[in-house]
Symmetry: D2
Subunit: 361 residues, 4 copies
Amino acid sequence: MDWAPTEMAKLGWGLVGGGEGSFFGPVHRMAAALDGRFELAAGAFSSDPANNRRSGHALGLAAGRIYDSFAEMARAEAARLDLVTIATPNHLHFAAAKAFLEAGIAVLCEKPMTLDLAEAEALRDLVARSGRPFVLAHTYTGYPMVRRARDLAASGALGTIHVVQVEYAQDWLAGAAFSKQAAWRIDPARSGAGGGLGDIGTHAFNLAVYVTGLTPRALCADIDHFGEGRVLDDNAHCLLRFDGGAKGMLWCSQVAIGRKNALTLRVYGSEGGLEWSQEDPERLTLSQLGGPTTILQKTDGRLPVGHPEGFIEALGQLYRDLAQVLTGGSPAAPLPGAEDGVAGLRFVEAAVRSAGGWVDL
Amino acid sequence: MDWAPTEMAKLGWGLVGGGEGSFFGPVHRMAAALDGRFELAAGAFSSDPANNRRSGHALGLAAGRIYDSFAEMARAEAARLDLVTIATPNHLHFAAAKAFLEAGIAVLCEKPMTLDLAEAEALRDLVARSGRPFVLAHTYTGYPMVRRARDLAASGALGTIHVVQVEYAQDWLAGAAFSKQAAWRIDPARSGAGGGLGDIGTHAFNLAVYVTGLTPRALCADIDHFGEGRVLDDNAHCLLRFDGGAKGMLWCSQVAIGRKNALTLRVYGSEGGLEWSQEDPERLTLSQLGGPTTILQKTDGRLPVGHPEGFIEALGQLYRDLAQVLTGGSPAAPLPGAEDGVAGLRFVEAAVRSAGGWVDL
Amino acid sequence: MDWAPTEMAKLGWGLVGGGEGSFFGPVHRMAAALDGRFELAAGAFSSDPANNRRSGHALGLAAGRIYDSFAEMARAEAARLDLVTIATPNHLHFAAAKAFLEAGIAVLCEKPMTLDLAEAEALRDLVARSGRPFVLAHTYTGYPMVRRARDLAASGALGTIHVVQVEYAQDWLAGAAFSKQAAWRIDPARSGAGGGLGDIGTHAFNLAVYVTGLTPRALCADIDHFGEGRVLDDNAHCLLRFDGGAKGMLWCSQVAIGRKNALTLRVYGSEGGLEWSQEDPERLTLSQLGGPTTILQKTDGRLPVGHPEGFIEALGQLYRDLAQVLTGGSPAAPLPGAEDGVAGLRFVEAAVRSAGGWVDL
Amino acid sequence: MDWAPTEMAKLGWGLVGGGEGSFFGPVHRMAAALDGRFELAAGAFSSDPANNRRSGHALGLAAGRIYDSFAEMARAEAARLDLVTIATPNHLHFAAAKAFLEAGIAVLCEKPMTLDLAEAEALRDLVARSGRPFVLAHTYTGYPMVRRARDLAASGALGTIHVVQVEYAQDWLAGAAFSKQAAWRIDPARSGAGGGLGDIGTHAFNLAVYVTGLTPRALCADIDHFGEGRVLDDNAHCLLRFDGGAKGMLWCSQVAIGRKNALTLRVYGSEGGLEWSQEDPERLTLSQLGGPTTILQKTDGRLPVGHPEGFIEALGQLYRDLAQVLTGGSPAAPLPGAEDGVAGLRFVEAAVRSAGGWVDL
């Protein structure tokens, strides 16, 4: 727990996407608000002009800083914003990120980073040239116990890592009825080649890599769509091979009835094993060779142990770290960036291309 | 989940207590920030003038709205603030609440409401005369599944309630070393007659009453201090009797090694039973006579099911409800108020007085 | 895990009660059979002669060793049996135990030991005079992790014990319909002064004492019967005081809807805390002051860790220990005996007499 | 719970393998003893003559029925035994089973059924010709909640099954030190082509098929040995394809530090999902599309709900079912047999042969 805020003026923050009816718009606003470091100053919230206006007004913005397009926003806000969050459907990520980076504004971008791998590689290069901070919204890397897991793995507590089991199971696309939030996620033109692979598989993949520090080398995937009238995957099974010989499995599903947002990572090495589950994020199980199993709990969260923190606080940690970076400091832990975004798209496209065979990553 | 914010201007908010080094200051700031309805406009953060200034500056307040005392703040801000949160040690609650209510400002007050019962009753009357909203910070009543539990009990899903088991166990006062945050909590002059009874026992007592709707009639308590050099209780065992014949137990402890913030409520009636635990707040277990046990999960939180919300969001719900009230609306569920504060102090004093005998509530 | 059996001839074993339709008859038979040390050689299974005959035949006994009464059985089998298990309703325990002890036969007796305290004290004296082994069927003391908990407490891992929370909650007497197995348990003439107190409260009480080694000094109880048409308690709440200053709570209920056989013990001392639950008997949670929480698992069960053992194996452990005793060896851990039976009846009668006041134990 | 035993004479039972120092010998003896239907009458317990003699004497057998070899035992006991259990290392299963079947004796055989697929097919044909009952010791199929899961799947409660996730993780082969029980399991000459694949992978594979009723069509496996000085797999990852389009994953590991005997099955269909875990065998989680998640508990075990049954009782159920079959009755649920044994070996060999490619099953 830290008492926290600094004397600095608030950082200017813009939001692209996230208008009325979106899931992640409010989440980003709550997360950004937690530490009081950012002030929403501008936005282009929806491709629907009426929604966009209503959303901006509701958020207290003056009409002049509510933009009909991110392109217009990037031009007008070039000198003014410190950070823009991109929370649109996937097909707009690239162009929006490009616009803001070129306007000299740091970007926090939803995942998957872009519609396809080619865009991802181009964006990575753009980020490098821009010199601006770019963070990919792999929210789960903001959980205290995920960072603790990463530290444990890096410290050698697990020995040489042999086995990585990661899965992300949901059920919100089971059955036939879909919300507006589902519509673009099952449309290849807006989602990209991956359905669940892009939406949640990239989280699972990133989490495994973030915690273990391993380099994935190849995958073999079997992907399916079990829901009716769907063309993108809603279930994917992957075997993974890592440099150095570790092996793994990744399962992502949006039709696993009873599973809500069950992102779970288990890592086993020569000296120990650890397990973490997003729906119980404050605990981390650590087992040691020949020793007992210990339940680790947070020692350095926003709140004391036993006072649950959740998803908003995890995303809020990425905003806190970004505020540090934007004011000349360092993040408390490494942040997922453009290279991770490339890796994510490479994962998605490899899984789609695999058709049950091995594909290099 | 709701998209939420309104077009209204932000509400002016003040904070008393909660300066550098406090636990609850940052929590209130994060909770109040979540929905963007409140803007911190003034404060008196610490009885230590230097801490007070530093805290105010760090929070971005102009020097003119950082006050050396809550009395001065109440006078100066009488026409300006919509809400003041009182997060001082207990002995200051009464005077501070009085000052702001008399200045026409709504109050969110930490618990226990006052130092003793006499003060509590006086404050209750003051609240009634003031006509201003007054909410007691029983944060746990803001959890979606606590409200769901209350609705279930009220709907008759449990039948006639027979048994109420509530407990709140921590271990942060086990052993000899104490933080600054512990110092005033174990000092009768600042904490009141109850140690753990006031600090966490009142939460447990309130939770039981809030969910069940029962009226407690009497208690029989055995209270102890097991930690060294302590005069106030750090462990209390109570038998409870409710109007209508239900019986209960309440245990609160701050020396239960291994328990972090384990507030748990279990209620059993003629038709069903339910169980909820604060450290796993997103689930509620409901069992029905002759039927199965089901795990209920939130359907109406800020986030979709499976995306954990925690303590900050629970307190944020009280702020959201207060914003509704302050702008002419209604809270989403009943809020704990001055009458509950009186009940809490009555509970504390009865437990202290009991010495193992029955005392009316 | 141990490979186990010895070369000795099987021990002769008799069963009183436990005929067709009983719950505990089959359990005792399965438990006694596990290690192959006992052979059922005689029985008086039911007060209903037809049931008795059918039961005996079904169990493969010759007609001559199926007895219409335990008195007759004790006379006839005096020279022949090594052990008799008494699994009748409570009101017959005393006379049956007396008969077999006087016939020189060791006894394993269901709990509560007798119908009332006077009988219990008389039986304790009889046991002492007889010199025969007498074990009370507190099955839970046979679980490996209960014995481990006892060892931990005795070794000082918890420091000075301050708080003991024990509960035993079931729901099989909720609602109006009862099985035959319930009939005698709610009848004072056959059950004694306690309903749930005798049936499960004595287990909880014994478990707390067995693990902690503490001596209970007094209790204060509030007992109720919430089920319709009942005269004996089906819910009891007790405060406990132990020699040396430890405090505790005991809750036993047979109307806690959703709880099946939830015997749970939690013990907290100056140096650590431990928790064990009968429905998850293979794990024991140990927390240490300033240290982590570890999950202990069996190292010395019949099976390797991860292969669940349960209730039958726990009772089987008592039979295994008895076999050791009957063949000149020692039990692997202390066994509950007549003194514990006296303590149990003292507990029941004190709780019934308490009426909310303190009663010495 | 059922009261149970019949009037019949005990069935004559023999044991091959399971001498001093074995893990499964005592387990079979305890399981067979539970219902009192079998009496150990003969055995060939060890290839070490001294061990064999000691074991037989310790179990109370007359010298004449302790055999130096199973071949001799099969000849001598041809007319006398009802059932023989084969609990030797894998390489002896075929010859032993053949000998007893040809002697007209029913067989309960440990898994994997034989050393290789060719033997398995030959044994399947032998079983068919013999007309004798043959059961494979897939102990987990004896758990009440596994049978309940099978019934639920068969009843359509899950709709069309889409996804099957099964895993069996242990850690007893992590690190360098091995017990005698490990020695033969890591020796290809005695274990066969699969290490963990045969020892626990076949259990996982069988469980998935037993519960879902699906027919596996192909697998793609990545197998490894991470332990030092090992030639057989101690970790295997498999993708599975079933007739009808369902997909699955199977993971078996003996080096997953912290996992003891974690056999877990999760099945998701168009209408529901279910989850079961061997280390918590008394509960089954059932979720329905658009409905809540329910915790199912046993209604028809040996003991009432809340009284844990475990591994011995599960194996005891196979013995109980066999007793029914041997006395002209029917098992309470389908029993795993020779065809399942063939499927198991086909699975092992396919996984070994796969080398990361797809292999038909």
